[in-house]
């Protein structure tokens, strides 16, 4: 066979093979992000969240009125049908004290986001440390480690055994009525969730072959935990954190609704607004609808993104 035909053959084959996608050295995180970008659910969720964040940042600056200014105080008669409003100047109308609802919604977004993020961060960070320690002890600590893990997890079980709202109410009752209390209360409730999730994920990864391989290479235990087990255990925790932002906002609203939220009328917050609206529900239902819809849409945004992330990060759906 002549050399020319041989090269021809190889070239033709290469041409045909080139239609296949070539791998590029993309890490799993990057691949997950690529999948996320293709998901409609993720896009919708991300857009909602982005709007919410923008609102939280610029809200106070673009609000047409001060959230505490009581315009037309004289025209507001709580006991005589609807509150006046919607005259073009007040898009959402006024509340029972004659404050512009639209402005209060705008300004309140920041508080609501703050509660959700801070509460979730509290739960995430503390839960991560506890769960990470338990997981590390359980996977690599031998018999002693398993005992340490047992003790930690029993403690977590006790926390988990208490009804979350009750726990939050107790914390709020002890610490007094403030926004910080709400954040801590909602955050503490999340601790066992994150701790259990990370530990469980680490245990599953701990028995994986690549951990065994790292052990047989002689890699130190601390490095095995930090570079092998933890990075592979993160996905469910990230998903949970996103979903938790939604529940944290709702729980914060629930606490506010129970009257444990921020008592300062100067700082509007959607949960508190909802609480205040209940007294006037017959006369002015829209006063409750605005903050409720706000909370629902935001929570939905986080949930959508969280679910999309769960799918994108699922190794079974890889490809």
């Amino acid at each position: 066979m002549s050399v020319a035909t041989k090269t021809d053959k190889i070239q033709r084959l290469a041409e045909l093979a080139a239609t296949k996608e070539t791998s590029t050295g993309a890490s799993l995180w990057r691949e997950a992000f690529r999948r996320l970008k293709r998901s409609k659910m993720a896009i919708i969720g991300a857009v909602v969240i982005a709007l919410f964040v923008v609102l939280a940042i610029v809200g106070p600056y673009v609000a047409p009125y001060s959230p505490t200014a009581q315009t037309w105080r004289n025209e507001v008669f709580p006991n005589r049908g609807e509150f006046v409003g919607a005259r073009g100047e007040n898009w959402f109308g006024l509340d029972h004290l004659g404050r512009d609802l639209f402005s209060r919604m705008l300004v309140g977004a920041r508080q609501t986001l703050l509660v959700g993020v801070v509460a979730t961060l509290i739960g995430l960070i503390i839960g991560f440390v506890i769960g990470g320690l338990a997981g590390a002890f359980a996977t690599l600590g031998g018999d002693t480690g398993r005992r340490v893990d047992s003790v930690i997890m029993r403690f977590i079980d006790i926390m988990l055994a208490m009804p979350s709202l009750l726990l939050a109410v107790s914390i709020a009752a002890v610490m007094g009525q403030s926004l910080t209390t709400v954040m801590i209360a909602v955050g503490v409730v999340q601790i066992p969730v994150f701790a259990r999730l990370l530990r469980g994920s680490m245990l599953a990864q701990g028995s994986a072959d690549y951990v065994l391989a790292a052990k047989s290479l002689g890699v130190r235990k601390r490095r095995i935990v930090l570079s092998q087990i933890v990075p592979n255990s993160l996905s469910p925790v990230i998903v949970q954190a996103t979903l938790s932002l939604a529940t944290a906002i709702i729980e914060a609203a629930a606490l506010s609704y129970l009257g444990l939220g921020n008592p300062d009328p100067a700082i509007p917050e959607w949960g508190v607004m909802l609480t205040q609206a209940q007294r006037f529900f017959d006369n002015a239902p829209m006063m409750a609808v605005y903050p409720a819809v706000g909370i629902i849409i935001t929570a939905l945004g986080f949930t959508l993104l969280g679910e999309a992330m769960r799918e994108a990060l699922d190794p079974k759906l890889r490809g």
């Binding site: 035909t5 021809d8 053959k9 033709r12 084959l13 045909l16 093979a17 239609t19 296949k20």
Partner: protein, 333 residues
């Protein structure tokens, strides 16, 4: 006429936004009563998808099936869903690779067997239970009445596969499809299960479609063997003919790359280079060409066709097949 005639079966997944992939690309074969036909190939060759398509067990989403599969003269793919369900289990039955995940873990084995008897044979209560015990006994499960009350996790792997076979043959099906029935089992257990399948075919005249990657299993069991590669049959022949004169470079290479128990030690293996990922589209030429030692420019001009049947129904899809003289050169007998 054969019991099952599969003609130009194609199975395509995807579509609607996702990239289409054709798992089975024009597969044809026939299975007769009392005959064992093998579909052999590596993962991704489309053998399992073929079996699932025949049983109607593929998820409907994004699925396109082309071609026909005539079972006893009726096309399976145009049959109504309920007629298909009636056929499945009574006339056609399937045995899967993983017996544990194919059995319902929370239902005793006995209930799972009697369920089939009740559904397809209209048996009731005590009669069904007695028949179920008989079935377990027939597939070689000792103490069947006790085993009936047990849950799948209480049985060993071999026992579970036997139970699964008992369920498959509960209605004396004329056609049995076995998808890697022994892959998850140990060789000594594999021998037991193969023996059981042999008995079924020889004594009951059941037609058996055997799907496997193990050429050794095929050598002792199948009458007719179809070798699949990338969704197409690349070689088809009677077992003696196929193993004696493998003509497609893939089949030939596969046989040369398997370490054999009876081969003298130290004889090097001749592996096929690359992997199943190194392939080109059938439309452009032979999918095996990138891994083939014998490929020519001719291999890259359009889809190669199956040749007309030679001896023992020997057909091959190759423009530059390994002929006997070439074989004698490469693998001295």
């Amino acid at each position: 006429m054969s019991l099952l005639t599969v003609d130009e079966l194609t199975v395509t997944f995807g579509g609607r936004g996702r990239k289409e992939s054709r798992a089975v690309d024009g597969v044809s074969f026939e299975v007769d009563q009392g005959q064992v036909v093998g579909l052999v190939g590596e993962s991704g060759c489309g053998k399992s998808v073929t079996s699932l398509a025949l049983m109607g067990l593929l998820p409907a989403k994004g699925l396109t099936i082309g071609g026909r599969a005539d079972f006893d003269g009726t096309n399976l793919f145009t049959m109504s869903a309920s007629a298909r369900r009636d056929l499945r289990g009574s006339e056609m039955a399937m045995i899967f690779q993983d017996p544990l995940s194919s059995l319902n873990p929370v239902v005793p084995v006995g209930v799972q067997v009697t369920e089939i008897l009740e559904r397809h044979r209209g048996m009731k209560g005590e009669a069904a239970r007695k028949e179920a015990a008989d079935l377990l006994d027939r597939v070689g499960i000792p103490d069947p009445t006790r085993r009936l009350k047990e849950y799948p996790h209480q049985l060993s792997g071999g026992m579970r596969q036997r139970a699964l076979i008992a369920m498959a043959v509960a209605c004396a099906p004329r056609m049995l499809i076995a998808d890697e029935p022994t892959t998850a089992l140990d060789v000594t257990i594999q021998a037991q299960i193969l023996e059981l399948l042999k008995e079924l075919v020889d004594q009951e005249g059941t037609a058996l479609l055997m799907i496997t990657h193990d050429l050794g299993v095929v050598a002792g069991l199948c009458d007719q063997v179809n070798v699949l590669y990338a969704g197409k049959v690349v070689e088809s022949a009677g077992r003696r003919e196929l193993f004696g004169h493998p003509t497609h470079p893939y089949a030939h290479g596969l046989l040369g790359s398997i370490p054999r128990l009876d081969a003298p030690r130290g004889e090097p293996l001749n592996p096929i280079r690359g992997s199943i990922n190194d392939r080109i589209a059938w439309a452009d030429g032979c999918a095996f060409a990138p891994r083939c030692d014998r490929y020519e420019m001719g291999c890259l001009t359009g889809t190669p066709q199956l040749t007309e049947p030679r001896a023992a129904g020997h057909q091959v899809r190759c423009v530059n097949p390994v002929l006997d003289d070439a074989k004698a050169e490469e693998v001295p007998a």
